[in-house]
């Protein structure tokens, strides 16, 4: 049973945990504040939002399908909030009453799944009773209602409910028997006319005149009563399996519905929280943007103007960003990564315009400040991390590197960095790399690798515009003046 709101055969149920690399991407790109804004306090939506960032939609048609659904839901959030609430409440109530822990005997499983399915069907009825949101509908909403009709329309829902009600009282039953090789009775399925006790009495009379013999097991006959339980289990097994299948289908449907509507709600909330321009990216061969900003900055109400940057990057090429410290390089790098994660999930991104090629994953290799290790260990750690990324590399990867291999001296770091960047590009990956290493950029140019350079701009007076301009790197960085500003006064005092 397909929910269909966000794409065909989507499956966001089940346990999902980010990989180590994905956790690094989440932290490096500062996704936490963006996630918080999307959740707006609903912690239970965190998984589905995060997951959508790491399960990119690389197919153009599916992306449009999801974008249209997201745009529509943002306009009619109330309906989706109601469906989400019903799906969530139903799921929660089933979980509270679900004693299907570990494995159970067939007869018990049959009666348990019957009552759980009855609860789900009640949820279905409530969802079908909601007033529908206005047309025209996006394809996703149409697909969802199609599923509801196919499964539960034409009076099927009522028939299902009545069969489950019958089964809730199933103490007396009859089965066909024949002698088995193991001395027992091979028993068939439960006879359905014995479901009702009233009917049972009728059929009892119908069978009058046949040869029969009866006995009653003693309640204290443990061995015999256990065997009787086994007979019931044998007679119930096929039905229990079918009901288990139905239970799984309903459970999956409700979990998926809860997840997909939850995601729509989160997107609507995030969209409302972002202040700057937003746009749904268009699938295209090149990665381009104008007015691209970092979403985290857009979430801060006190920041009046956030500088937007342009981007023009061909997949398989490299973009090397150099220039002034605190010139907005890392902020820009994060904005690129955020836009890919959000845009490929079907969310709007913080830009005026954007085209997006199908990257199948984003990998980040950011300088880690936290632990004060000795230099050689830090370099080891960096190389080990890079090794981990290379292990999971695909040609459609976007690799974002921030001050990589700066834990050693510039010469050695540059050699390593250019060696690795060249390798990544050789594999067909797209690389955006922020670096202070002048020698690194020189080496890349010598190798004639397909890279372009951006430079953090700096005015004559030393002030920063946070605008990145195309331009070859300059041999000196500007860390000195930041240092000077901080240390200037102190230095003078000591003079």
């Amino acid at each position: 049973m397909n929910v269909g709101l966000l794409g065909e055969r989507l499956d966001w149920t089940g346990q999902w945990t980010p990989t180590e690399a994905q956790r690094a991407v989440f932290a490096d790109l500062e996704m936490q504040p963006i996630l918080e804004a999307a959740l707006d306090g609903q912690r239970d939506l965190a998984q589905v939002v995060t997951r959508s960032w790491f399960e990119p939609v690389t197919d153009a048609a599916t992306l449009v399908y999801r974008q249209q659904m997201a745009a529509y839901a943002t306009q009619h959030l109330d309906y989706f909030r109601q469906v989400h609430q019903l799906a969530k409440d139903t799921g929660a109530e089933v979980r509270r009453n679900n004693w299907l822990v570990g494995t159970q005997a067939a007869a018990y499983s049959l009666s348990s799944t019957c009552s759980l399915c009855a609860r789900y069907l009640k949820g279905v009825a409530a969802i079908r009773a909601l007033p529908l949101p206005p047309a025209p509908w996006p394809a996703g909403l149409t697909a969802f209602h199609q599923t509801l009709t196919t499964q539960f329309g034409d009076g099927r829902l009522a028939k299902m409910q009545s069969l489950l009600a019958d089964l809730s009282d199933n103490r007396v039953y009859a089965v066909e028997g024949r002698l088995s090789a193991s001395l027992g009775s091979d028993v068939g399925e439960r006879e359905v006319q014995h479901v009702h006790r009233l009917l049972d009495r009728v059929s009892e009379q119908l069978h009058l005149g046949k040869r029969k013999a009866s006995f009653t097991l003693s309640a204290r006959d443990d061995n015999g009563t256990k065997a009787l339980v086994r007979v019931e289990n044998q007679a119930s097994y096929a039905s229990a399996k079918a009901m288990m299948q139905i239970y799984h289908a309903l459970a999956h449907f409700f979990a998926e519905l809860e997840a997909e509507t939850g995601w729509l709600i989160a997107v609507g909330q995030l969209s409302a929280a972002l202040t700057g321009p937003q746009v749904f990216p268009t699938a295209a061969p090149k990665f381009t943007a104008t007015g691209l900003t970092n979403a985290v900055l857009q979430l801060q109400p006190d920041v009046s103007t956030v500088i937007g940057n342009a981007l023009d990057l061909t997949p398989g090429h490299g973009l090397i960003i150099t220039g002034a410290n605190q010139g907005g390089k890392t902020t820009f790098l994060r904005a690129v990564g955020q836009a890919v994660l959000m845009g490929e999930a079907g969310m709007p991104v913080c830009a005026e315009k954007m085209t997006l090629p199908p990257f199948d994953q984003v990998l980040t290799h950011f300088k880690r400040e936290e632990d004060a290790q000795v230099v050689s260990e830090k370099l080891d750690e960096e190389l080990k991390r890079m090794r981990g990324l290379v292990d999971q590399l695909t040609p459609q990867s976007l690799v974002l590197m921030n001050e990589s291999f700066s834990s050693t001296n510039e010469h050695e770091g540059s050699q390593i960095n250019s060696e690795i960047t060249g390798g990544l590009l050789g594999r067909g990956c797209t690389v955006v790399s922020v670096s202070h290493q002048f020698e690194y950029t020189q080496l890349l140019q010598q190798e004639a690798l397909p890279v372009r350079f951006l430079r953090a701009e700096r005015a004559e007076d030393g002030s920063r515009s946070f605008k990145l301009m195309a331009g070859a790197p300059l041999p000196t960085s500007y860390g000195q003046d930041i240092f000077d500003r901080r240390f200037g006064a102190l230095r003078k005092k000591h003079r």
Binding site: G177, L183, G184, L217, G224, A238, M244, L250
Partner: protein
């Protein structure tokens, strides 16, 4: 006339070799325990009774050779699983309290036994078995099925089985009250109703759904009270069919074939031994082979052999070693670093001689072994907490008994003999023992830290090896003159404590 799969002679030899201590020293008790784990049939009777003639050994070896054929293996495995000897079931059947169950139990048992015998005959006939034992069994089965009594039994089985299998009845279960009634037809079950009402959902759901949360209904093992009561009720509903069953029971309860029952008790020996060795061979790439008999004057040898007990216990990283003892050689003197595989090597050789006498495949390749009528071991005992003098005395007592009992057919394995005394004394005593044993024509292995014993006539010095330039043991034991100090030197080098190192450090 065929009588047994394990012994060619009409009557199995009744000698039972003592020597629990020897089995323990060689860790064969562990091996046998592991083999016994693979079958419910007690095997001690066979494992603790080594054969005494080359013919007996060949008789079994040929069966093991046949077992390599998967068809033969499948035939014997199925037989062992499906056939139950008379003495195993007769008590169980007669002890059943309810008549109907008792009769029915016998019927089912005999039906399965006959089916198992037919399967065995068919499968053996289709295989290429060549051993005298299995060919004998095949011939025996042919004669067996031709007996008029057996043919009558089989047609009776079919007739009654059919009559009972044709009974159709309905069980109506209301709590603990059960009604058994005759029935002619049956309506659709609940399962069909569910399938109808939920059709779209079931069609949509993947078929490989996970049903692991539902326990598959248990099939009945043994007979429950319920089954007994259903059978009793059935006897009331269908009295004619049950009268025939009773007649069958009375006629066949005591029918028995002793030879086939003997075979059933012997097959597990072959299967368990083969399963045990096959597992080790496949899992750890270890070879097994059937030794040929080395006559007098021939060199005895096994290539790429190993300690079976160690392999069973550890599995991975087993190092194989070659064994060779020429006709004019009497003792292998094994020295070398401790923990280097000396004892393991000695154990390996002892195991091989014993296992050869069981007629089973031994660890290694290209084996030719003599039939040692006596196998003696003298290993350091666990009771070393005793006083030194007491220990030495016990050592001397034991070796004296061994020397005294040994002859030209004996193989003696001595492990660190007299370790509780001084080196000079131990050497003197060791020489004495070796000379005495040699004089009696015995052969064997002497594991020792005393290099000087290697200078005796008719002995072969061997050493456990250390990888060159390190202290790592290779667990290889090879023929070489003892070098006395290679290991110590490499250990010193590792710590920079060789005299040359110390001299160098002393210089400015």
């Amino acid at each position: 006339m065929f009588k047994s799969l394990l012994f060619p002679a009409a009557k199995p030899p009744d000698i039972r070799v003592s020597g629990k201590a020897m089995l323990t020293d060689l860790h064969l008790d562990q091996v046998f325990h592991a083999i016994q784990q693979l079958t419910a049939q007690p095997l001690d009777e066979f494992l603790l009774r080594p054969l005494t003639t080359a013919d007996e050994i060949t008789y079994r070896q040929a069966v093991f050779a046949d077992l390599a054929d998967s068809q033969v293996h499948a035939a014997l495995t199925a037989f062992s699983k499906n056939y139950e000897p008379h003495q195993a079931y007769v008590g169980r059947v007669t002890r059943v309290y309810e008549d109907e169950v008792k009769w029915y139990t016998l019927l089912i048992r005999l039906k399965r036994n006959q089916a198992a015998l037919h399967d065995l005959a068919t499968q053996l006939a289709a295989s290429h078995c060549q051993s005298a034992a299995l060919l004998g069994l095949q011939g025996y089965l042919t004669d067996y099925f031709a007996q008029p009594g057996i043919q009558k039994l089989e047609s009776a089985l079919v007739a009654i089985q059919q009559a009972l299998g044709a009974l159709r009845y309905r069980l109506v279960i209301d709590d603990l009250h059960v009604t058994v009634e005759e029935t002619t037809g049956f309506t659709d079950g609940l399962h069909e109703s569910i399938g109808g009402v939920f059709a779209p959902m079931l069609a949509d759901q993947a078929n490989d759904d996970d049903f692991s949360a539902i326990e598959p209904p248990e099939t009945e093992l043994g007979v429950s009270n319920l089954q007994a009561m259903i059978l009793r009720a059935l006897r009331q509903v269908f009295p004619e069919a049950f009268a025939k069953l009773l007649a069958f029971y009375r006629q066949y309860l005591n029918a028995q074939d002793e030879v086939l029952d003997t075979v059933a008790a012997e097959v597990p020996f072959y299967l368990a031994v083969q399963a045990f060795e096959k597992h080790l061979g496949a899992a750890y790439d270890l070879p097994f082979c059937l030794p040929t008999a080395a006559g007098p004057g021939a060199t005895e040898q096994v290539q790429a052999s190993f300690d079976l007990a160690l392999a069973a216990q550890r599995g991975h990283g087993i190092v194989t070693n070659d064994y060779r003892l020429a006709a004019d050689e009497q003792f292998l003197i094994i020295s070398g670093p401790n923990q280097g595989g000396k004892t393991t090597y000695a154990r390996m050789v002892g195991e091989n001689y014993y296992l050869y006498r069981l007629g089973i495949p031994i660890p290694g390749r290209d084996a030719a072994l003599g039939l040692k009528t006596q196998l003696f071991t003298h290993f350091e005992r666990a009771e070393s907490a005793a006083k030194l003098t007491g220990l030495l005395a016990a050592d001397v007592d034991r070796i004296y008994e061994i020397v005294n009992a040994s002859d030209a057919g004996s193989f003696v394995i001595m492990n660190e003999l007299f370790s509780s005394t001084t080196a000079a004394d131990a050497e003197k005593m060791g020489r004495e023992v070796l000379t005495l044993l040699a004089a009696r024509g015995a052969k064997g292995i002497y594991v020792t830290f005393l290099d000087s014993l290697a200078t005796l006539p008719n002995v072969v010095p061997m050493m456990s090896q250390v990888a060159s330039g390190s202290t790592a043991r290779t667990y290889k034991v090879v023929r070489t003159q003892p070098d006395g100090q290679a290991y110590a030197l490499s250990l010193l080098a590792q710590y920079g404590l060789r005299s040359a190192d110390i001299l160098k450090e002393a210089q400015p």
